[in-house]
Symmetry: C2
Subunit: 402 residues, 2 copies
């Protein structure tokens, strides 16, 4: 069973609450600070950016997770400043923010995970943030979840949330909630993919970590807006076991993993659909690859291709661009065997096919554009999500504002 859409988010699972504040970090004003709290120690697992220019909050969160072996009481998030490229001073700033959040929650600093998004190279206004944290009121409501999802937005045009519940084998109902922000710029600055998920399921951090890695590979890591990996990307899951009872057994872990993957996929798709300047969500599904990794590589390369993105923008059924992107993906494929469909319309099967162009154009004009490739080479499959490339993307990212 799922909660009604839009009715839940990061404070939906039992024992989680959220506080929203305004610390004056954003030039445009408005809420820019979010504190997520678990009322008891939670298992924590996370994946962070592979960019070597890692932001101070990424370094600190990773250090904290190593110190605790995968536990946390809260997450402190700010928009408006990425605290990246800020050297040792930036690390000190992040530590001060974390200390204030831990003080507010009554826990140790290593139990609070920091995350930031916004301008690279500028310093956090630490005093303002510490003051704002002191005044945060923690609430558990759909309204508070929704406000939190708005507070972490940059050039996102809409908040991204997801909540769902599932009944376990022993009758317990566990809930997951989450929010994410997409790849956009604050006054054309580097952006960040952030996602935070909370669940009341009882699951140890080692199991949570084991589940999270492959799920992130199939969901968040399959989204591309513009091919630029941020310095601040982070996906953090907290599981506090507030549902009560024993830890999930193997069967329930599979049920939970399905729910976690559905939540990650929903947030990942929402990020792609809200890419800067985008009018279309591009969903590329690949079957018949030598491996799932190969299928994901093909899907990702097609979804991220500037030429595919502009073709979708112009509703041009230009399958040659799809074929060419597949061919440079690094995955194994046989050009004489692969099949390409634009939605339901077959366009290539090793040779160009005559096809109904008007039908293909209608598919390309849809809000969601499904592209399907079958490599006829194995059992591997995978999906990736992207968006069209528009003149608005260029405008958003080249307008001068520094």
């Amino acid at each position: 069973m799922s909660l009604a859409a839009g009715r839940g988010g990061v404070a939906s699972a039992r024992g989680f609450s959220v506080g929203i504040g305004e610390a004056g970090i954003r030039e445009s004003g408005g809420p820019d600070l979010v504190l997520i709290e678990s009322d008891r120690p939670a298992s924590a697992a996370a994946t962070f950016t592979t960019n070597l220019m890692r932001a101070a909050p990424v370094l600190l969160a990773e250090e904290a997770l190593a110190d605790t072996g995968g536990g946390a009481r809260g997450i402190i998030v700010n928009a408006g400043c990425a605290n990246a490229g800020t050297g040792a001073g930036g690390l000190d700033d992040a530590r001060a923010v974390v200390a204030a959040a831990a003080d507010h929650l009554g826990c140790e600093p290593y139990e609070v995970l920091p995350a930031s998004t916004g301008l690279i190279g500028s310093r956090l206004p630490v005093r303002q943030i510490v003051d704002a944290i002191g005044g945060l009121r923690l609430r558990r409501s759909a309204t508070a979840s929704g406000r939190a999802a708005r507070a972490i937005m940059t050039t996102d045009t809409r908040p991204k949330q997801h909540a769902a519940s599932v009944r376990l084998g022993d009758g317990r109902t566990v809930t997951i909630g989450g929010m994410a922000k997409g790849a956009g710029m604050i006054h054309p600055q580097m952006a960040t993919m952030l996602a935070f998920l909370t669940t009341d399921a009882p699951i140890g951090s080692a199991s949570l970590r084991t589940l999270l890695g492959p799920i992130v590979d199939r969901t968040f890591n399959q989204v591309s807006i513009d091919g630029d990996t941020s310095t601040n990307d982070a996906v953090i899951v907290l599981a506090n076991g507030a549902v009560g009872g024993p830890a999930l057994d193997a069967a329930d872990q599979r049920t939970f993993a399905d729910m976690l993957e559905a939540a990650c996929r929903a947030l990942a798709v929402a990020i792609a659909a809200d890419g800067e300047g985008a009018r279309h969500l591009i969903e590329v599904t690949v079957h018949g690859a030598a491996s799932d990794a190969d299928a994901r590589a093909v899907a990702r390369t097609v979804a991220a291709s500037s030429l595919v993105k502009t073709a979708v923008h112009g509703a041009d059924p230009n399958w040659g661009r799809i074929a060419a992107a597949a061919g440079r993906s690094g995955a194994r494929l046989d050009p004489e065997r692969i099949r390409i469909h634009i939605g339901p319309v077959p366009v290539y099967d090793g040779n160009p096919l005559p096809f109904d162009e008007a039908h293909a154009r209608r598919v390309l004009r849809g809000r969601t554009v499904p592209l399907v490739l079958d490599l006829l080479d194995g059992e591997g499959s995978g999906t990736a999500w992207g968006c069209d490339l528009s003149a608005e993307y260029v405008a958003i990212n080249s307008e001068y504002t520094t």
Copy 2:
């Protein structure tokens, strides 16, 4: 010594001539067929696209070079149709075109290398091409070279040629000439990077191959317009020894390699500067990397970043995007050591630097925008070339025309 700019091209070296024809392959009409001839057997070396969806002419040219061990009498090039994604029929088409060219030159089919650029997935109008080849008149003049460079253009806005001569140790003067076409679309179709170089230097095909690979890695492979690798990319060098005398000795090979690299660099830079919708050439130079390969990877990633490209388009000195691109390049780097300059303006040295924003903006408004990174980690260096990303790029590639 160099020939005057614009005075030479692919038919500048002794013993080479070129014919230009109109086969009606382009919808827009105009010359679309070029035959390059060496009046004697030439050593040949080539590099082709790494895309697995390789076009028929690429497969055929590679086969011919394997058959001859690296020799050729000519190159037959067409614009308007890539002959890619065309299956076995496309290979037959390419063979028929090559046979007609070989017949016209009085040589064997395996001595003629084919190359195509244009629409993926459509078939060559073979009969028209064979007829046009029969009527080609081969000439050796600067005018003919220039017309050939124009005939292979797609959305290129200007022809790209280069010619130079150099005096060897024994007093002989050898000449190199070349032409290239850039990454653009024909009525938004996948494009191709093609470059053809001819020289009268006496050098065997094994030596020529040994020289060409690393030079292409430092020049053509360091250019990105939109990150999409074509199905048809090809760089072909013919060396016919028409200058006479013995084969180049080791010292003269070094002299020749420098001239070859300068020619490849000139054509590669011309391609980047003429990227679709581009107003600026972005030249990214990286010093102090652990290896040349690492330096080239950093330079290439920065030059190809959509965020760097839009920042240059908007004259925004947003060095965080440069740092973030460097951090995801896969190369080894220490975020606390790297230094970034926008032209002469230092902006980052492990910490953000105060800098003259007006000065940096002036640099970004120049026709050529130099970005310099020093990783302070070794002796590796490299350069890459790209262009800004503009709304015109989106318009060129999303306009519907099929």
